[in-house]
Symmetry: C2
Subunit: 131 residues, 2 copies
DNA sequence: AGAAACAGGACTAAAAAAGTCTTGACAGAA
DNA sequence: TTCTGTCAAGACTTTTTTAGTCCTGTTTCT
């Protein structure tokens, strides 16, 4: 539980690399993959997700590549995690998925919402710059 | 990410059931499984874990079964989750598993420790009674 | 036009999670 | 003591998820 997967791991490494390359020129995936020690094809997939989420901007063609869409201090951990793994969802309902009306009364459900909220808040406070 | 698995889900349901049965007589796994809508064999496995973690106490023989080792308000979510899924570990190191000395300097590592700590604290504040 | 980069769907492989089976140990009652 | 009904525990199988590859297409710049 609460373990990030390899997709997120590579995403973070790649983003770190971009954040550290001071100039905001596009860097091609092959270079990132090499520096970050990941398969280029797999990393490409991951950067597609980051691109779709608006965290990086891709450009094609011979001088193409990826660069950060925003400065590192404006990209937080929650965004990155959600881009690669989807939204944080601890659980739907402890009692019984069907019997739970999802909106009220179910105490367990309320607790999970609370947990999820806290986790999100926490992740939002950490930016790429801190990493 | 941050999704509890079915083992934990069933564990919680089972524990809830025990917590709600006011008398602290042993309840056999078959009954719990039925009430909680889980396979008895699988749930038995899960309760073995809970037993090993000291959350429930098992007794064998014809009037055997499981009962809570402690009152519900003294069993917190962290204990339950750790019993079924092992300790919360977000990640070892974002940078490079090998290159990271795990104890100092690595900024990413520090952040993860922080996240893990906060999550643990949060889980500890929620007891079985609240569910 | 052509080379070099990303886009994206289909596919395969590996790992983890979920679930079953079987045998044994223990407790209590007849 | 012996029989019955419970949990214990390891080996095994199945299912689901994650990781990773392949191939074809599209875009961009020269």
């Amino acid at each position: 539980m609460f373990k990030i997967n390899r997709k997120t791991e590579y995403a973070l490494r790649g983003l770190r690399y971009l954040a550290n390359s001071r100039t905001n020129e596009p860097v091609m995936i092959r270079e990132i993959a090499q520096k970050v020690d990941a398969s280029p094809v797999f990393l490409a997939k991951i950067f597609q997700l980051l691109n779709a989420a608006g965290l990086v901007t891709s450009s094609r063609g011979v001088v193409g590549g990826f660069r950060l869409s925003r400065p590192p201090e404006q990209i937080n951990l929650r965004e990155i995690v959600e881009a690669t793994e989807g939204p944080v969802s601890v659980n739907l309902c402890v009692v019984d998925e069907d019997a739970c009306d999802l909106t009220k009364t179910c105490a367990a459900h309320k607790v999970w919402r609370q947990v999820r909220y806290s986790i999100n808040k926490m992740l939002e406070q950490i930016t790429l710059k801190e990493l």
